[in-house]
């Protein structure tokens, strides 16, 4: 228990510290790197809770894809962040208003313990006991059986997204030189090299 508690506080402190650094770092590249650190520590917290699947997804999707994408964008686009941050005071009132709205939402969320859903018992597929099977196993069991219809349909949506991206952006350009390995290898010595006799004292 003690080790778990220590691990929890360590992960939690690093997450919060990294999160603060994300918004306070001057260099945007540092911000993104701190964001990645925050993601890793959040994943650690999930592992402590026994939600190893979400921890895995967090590392793969957020660290592996989203954060790296951010990093690319930040490094490739030359955005002047100092300029973006000007007028901070100007937008403070509206920002504060949104902050208050979010705070009220948090309070509402806390009060939903009081409101019970109409239907509480018998979900579509009862969750197995937590110690009998891992998260990933449990998800896999329903994903490919009870929800196979939605799973396949989601696959089709992704396929259409792929087709769309290609249809709308792929252009076959004229005059692009492509390497033709076969033609290169088929060249013989006499096609490539010409032997010239050069007379002494004259040019070719």
């Amino acid at each position: 228990m003690v080790i778990q508690a220590i691990a929890f506080y360590m992960f939690a402190i690093v997450t919060i510290a990294a999160a603060v650094m994300v918004i306070s770092a001057r260099n945007p590249v540092h911000s993104v790197l701190f964001l990645i650190l925050a993601f890793f520590n959040a994943a650690g917290l999930f592992v402590l809770m026994g939600a190893e699947f979400i921890a895995m997804i967090l590392v793969i999707v957020y660290v592996g894809a989203v954060a790296v994408l951010f990093l690319f964008v930040v490094m490739m686009l030359d955005i002047n962040f100092a300029e973006l941050r000007q007028g901070f005071l100007q937008y403070l009132p509206i920002g504060g208003l949104i902050g208050i709205v979010l705070l009220v939402e948090l309070l509402f969320l806390a009060s939903t313990w009081l409101a019970k859903p109409l239907k509480t018992a018998s979900p579509a597929s009862p969750a197995p006991a937590a110690d009998a099977v891992t998260n990933t196993h449990a998800l896999g069991r329903v994903l490919y059986t009870d929800y196979v219809y939605l799973f396949q349909a989601a696959g089709l949506v992704l396929l259409v997204a792929m087709i769309g991206a290609i249809v709308l952006t792929l252009r076959s350009r004229e005059g692009v030189r492509r390497q033709n390995a076969a033609a290169q290898l088929n060249r013989r010595r006499d096609q490539a090299v010409e032997v010239k006799k050069v007379q002494p004292g004259s040019s070719i």
Binding site: K119, T120, A153, V157, V160, I163, V167, L168
Partner: protein, 482 residues
């Protein structure tokens, strides 16, 4: 997982597999295969229709009751399949002339159709959403398909951004419904809300329902969620507009009917006022805003907003007769729209498409047959008896009067008189104004065939309306058991 589930969803599986197979074929053959791929896709849609007609039994649930196949789904699925098949056929000549004949076009329409079939068969908020996204995503891409044209790209982008917004609203509503009801399944929701426990539904559930209705109203382009329609219809290539106005609208309308009448059927007094407001607003805007339009595609966009308003009159009644009216309305609307857009596709001068209403002036002298066909469709859209459009309106208004919604029926009649103004203006332009340049001839063969077929349907509907009316009646009966 059960093998019979696959039987119930055969058309969807067939079309999805065909789409992927054609994608492989197209990638290897290149854009030369546009015509081949298109015709195979049309054959696939016809085959899906044949597979559908082999279905027997009143109502079947599949995939853990996320999917439902009943009489209502059958009727609407046939309409959607017809709409998609005709849209592919109509696009052939246009796409080749405008140099957008790429093989992905019919494939995207196939996937959009799969999405529409899934929407119609949805029996769960999750399957509803996934079907809707599959359809919408394909439509965003098709809207921007002519990527070298700024207007087409703009239409696609506009549709995408606003569509994402509406999906967000729908999802928010669905999450509220799930949060307050504890289930996303339509059957379970209907059982929860039947009032047998004597409790009124919670406010949160109603707020969720309102958000779901708002998201669906966007997809059928009903006022006040119609703003995207004129811009997208005008900017998208004409065959795409023809497709947008027919099949997706029918699917979204079927989905709206199923959601409101099925799981939330007991809350009819709660949603009825929303549907009445949306219906009146759509009819009035569709009638008034179209008067000042000079672009025929924009005019047809406002006209389709008005038609959605008329169809919603039947839904507002909330009765079996009302749903039957909606089904009949969508069937006739499909044919009128396909026919009208065939005429718009014929509007070409000097090798390019023209879209001004003024370009139709004196069409009766230069191309009398085309003018006659367009006149038939315009009269039908205005609701002049004995054409089919009159019967479409008759059934929804009768249902509204039966449900004692007299005010709604009167406003509907008044707006249809106002709307008749701009339909008749087109006829006046064609028959009584001086002829200008003639349109290109000859009309492509497949377009001619569709034109003749749809004109005959509109003209002769009154003589033999039994199949459509019986089909719509059977479709409506399933949604009102007992």
């Amino acid at each position: 997982m059960n093998a019979t589930y696959l039987v119930h969803s055969r058309p969807e599986i067939l079309l999805a597999c065909l789409g992927m197979a054609l994608l492989m074929y197209g990638v290897f053959k290149g854009d030369r295969s546009f015509r081949t791929v298109s015709w195979i896709a049309v054959l696939g849609l016809v085959a899906a229709g044949c597979v559908l007609s082999a279905v027997s039994g009143p109502r079947a649930l599949a995939f853990g009751s996320q999917f439902v196949l009943d009489g209502f789904a059958l009727f609407m699925k046939w309409l959607v399949l017809i709409g998609s098949a005709l849209a592919i056929v109509m696009s052939l000549a246009f796409n080749e002339r405008e140099r957008m004949a790429r093989f992905e076009y019919p494939i995207l329409i196939l996937f959009a159709t799969v999405g529409m079939l899934m929407m119609i068969s949805a029996n769960d908020l999750m399957s509803l959403y996934v079907g809707l996204e599959l359809q919408s995503l394909s439509l965003y891409v098709i809207a921007a398909f002519n990527r070298d044209s700024t207007r087409s790209t703009e239409a696609g982008l506009k549709y995408f951004v606003l569509g994402a917004l509406s999906s967000g609203m729908l999802l928010y509503g669905a999450s509220l419904v799930y949060g307050f009801a504890g289930t996303t399944n339509f059957t379970a929701l209907a059982a929860l809300l039947d009032g047998s426990d004597g409790k009124a539904p919670g406010l949160g559930l109603l707020v969720g329902l309102v958000f779901v209705i708002a998201g669906l109203a966007f997809k059928i382009s009903a006022v006040p969620f119609h703003m995207w329609t004129p811009d997208v219809y005008e900017g998208a290539p004409t065959p795409v507009t023809a497709f947008f106005a027919a099949a997706p609208k029918i699917a979204a309308m079927a989905l709206t009917v199923r959601v409101l009448v099925g799981p939330f059927g007991e809350l009819v007094h709660q949603w009825q006022q929303i549907v009445i407001f949306v219906s009146i607003a759509s009819m009035i805007l569709g009638a008034l805003a179209a008067i000042w339009q000079t672009n025929i595609k924009r005019l047809l966009a406002y006209s389709s907003i008005g038609h959605v308003g008329f169809a919603l009159v039947g839904l507002a009644a909330g009765t079996e007769a009302g749903v039957q009216g909606v089904a009949i309305y969508m069937a006739i609307y499909l044919v009128m729209n396909v026919g009208t857009f065939c005429c718009v596709l014929c509007m070409r001068q000097y090798g390019r498409a023209v879209e001004g209403i003024e370009d139709l002036a004196g069409l009766s002298k230069t191309q009398p047959m085309l003018a006659l066909a367009l006149a038939i469709f315009m009269f039908s859209m205005a609701g002049i008896p004995p054409l089919a459009g009159f019967f479409a309106k008759l059934y929804v208004f009768l249902a509204a009067v039966d449900a004692k919604l007299y005010g709604l029926a009167v406003i509907g009649l008044l707006t249809s008189v106002v709307a008749a103004f701009y339909y008749l203006r087109i006829i006046k332009l064609m028959y009584f104004d001086d002829a200008k340049e003639s349109f290109e001839r000859p009309v492509p063969g497949e377009i001619g065939v569709i034109l003749v077929g749809s004109s005959l349907f509109i003209l002769l509907f009154f003589a033999y309306p039994a199949p459509i009316i019986a089909g719509a009646s059977a479709a409506a009966k399933v949604l009102f058991p007992g």
